[in-house]
Amino acid sequence: MIALLKQKEWSPYLAGALLGVVYIASIAVSGIIPGASGAFENVAGLIAQAVSPALANNTYFKFVMPPGISWEVILLAGVFVGAFASAKLSGDFKLAAVPDEQWRKMFGNSIWKRWAIAFVGGIIIEYGAGIAGGCTSGLAVGGGLFLAPAAFIFMAGMFASGIPTAILMYGRKF
């Protein structure tokens, strides 16, 4: 058991089954489908209220994603702790500005390049999730388990644009 907890990587099927149990527990106990992207919008709304209340005074923040420390924000805090504990316990944790070997091989060691793409990519992801009504966790898995058409339309869109993006970035090495 301890050896399993200290393993650097699990089979995606085992890890996925654990996530499935998390979904069951969440829906059974609190009636909420876990999602990640909504938390960022709740916090963004809080920041908007603090910086410029006029900015937060729109339909989206009033009705769709109210600002505040929501259930999802606390969930996200738990996500950080859980991922950190998993990485630390298995010795997989390290701080690095450009951490991924495949990235370095393809795009070099430039910190700015990695951070700029990570920053812009984060904005694009959050914007897309905002329009779609969720992300890979809350919509694709959380909707998919109810066979909600939204989940499958979202995943189709995700791959329809993700594949050409990867082709563009990887060129002949795709």
Binding site: P12, Y23, I24, I33, F154, G157
Partner: protein, 93 residues
């Protein structure tokens, strides 16, 4: 149950499973779009299937009430997904 402890514990399991599946790593995310490593899909679809069986078993026995299913609005889901995919494949989150 507690409105703070419960999401923290659930989040812990969430983050733990993501890290153990390797989904905190750039190459795992981008490689699913290159079809060289399907861990993202194996992970997501297993979670989906396990949760589906568990949730509907519990609801069949009348132990839980089902939450509101994410709304389907074709244009929004599709356009959102198309935008989302660019960021996901580009940044590897």
């Amino acid at each position: 149950m507690n409105e703070i402890i419960l999401p923290l514990v659930l989040g812990f399991g969430f983050g733990w499973s993501l890290q153990k599946a390797g989904l905190t790593k750039y190459h795992k995310i981008v490689n699913v779009f290159r079809f060289t490593d399907l861990a993202v899909l194996k992970f997501m679809m297993t979670a989906l299937a396990v949760a589906m069986v568990g949730v509907f078993a519990l609801s069949t026995f009348g132990l839980i009430t089902l939450p509101t299913v994410p709304a389907t609005y074709v244009a929004g889901n599709l356009v959102g997904g198309l935008i989302f995919g660019v960021g996901m494949a580009g940044a590897g989150f």
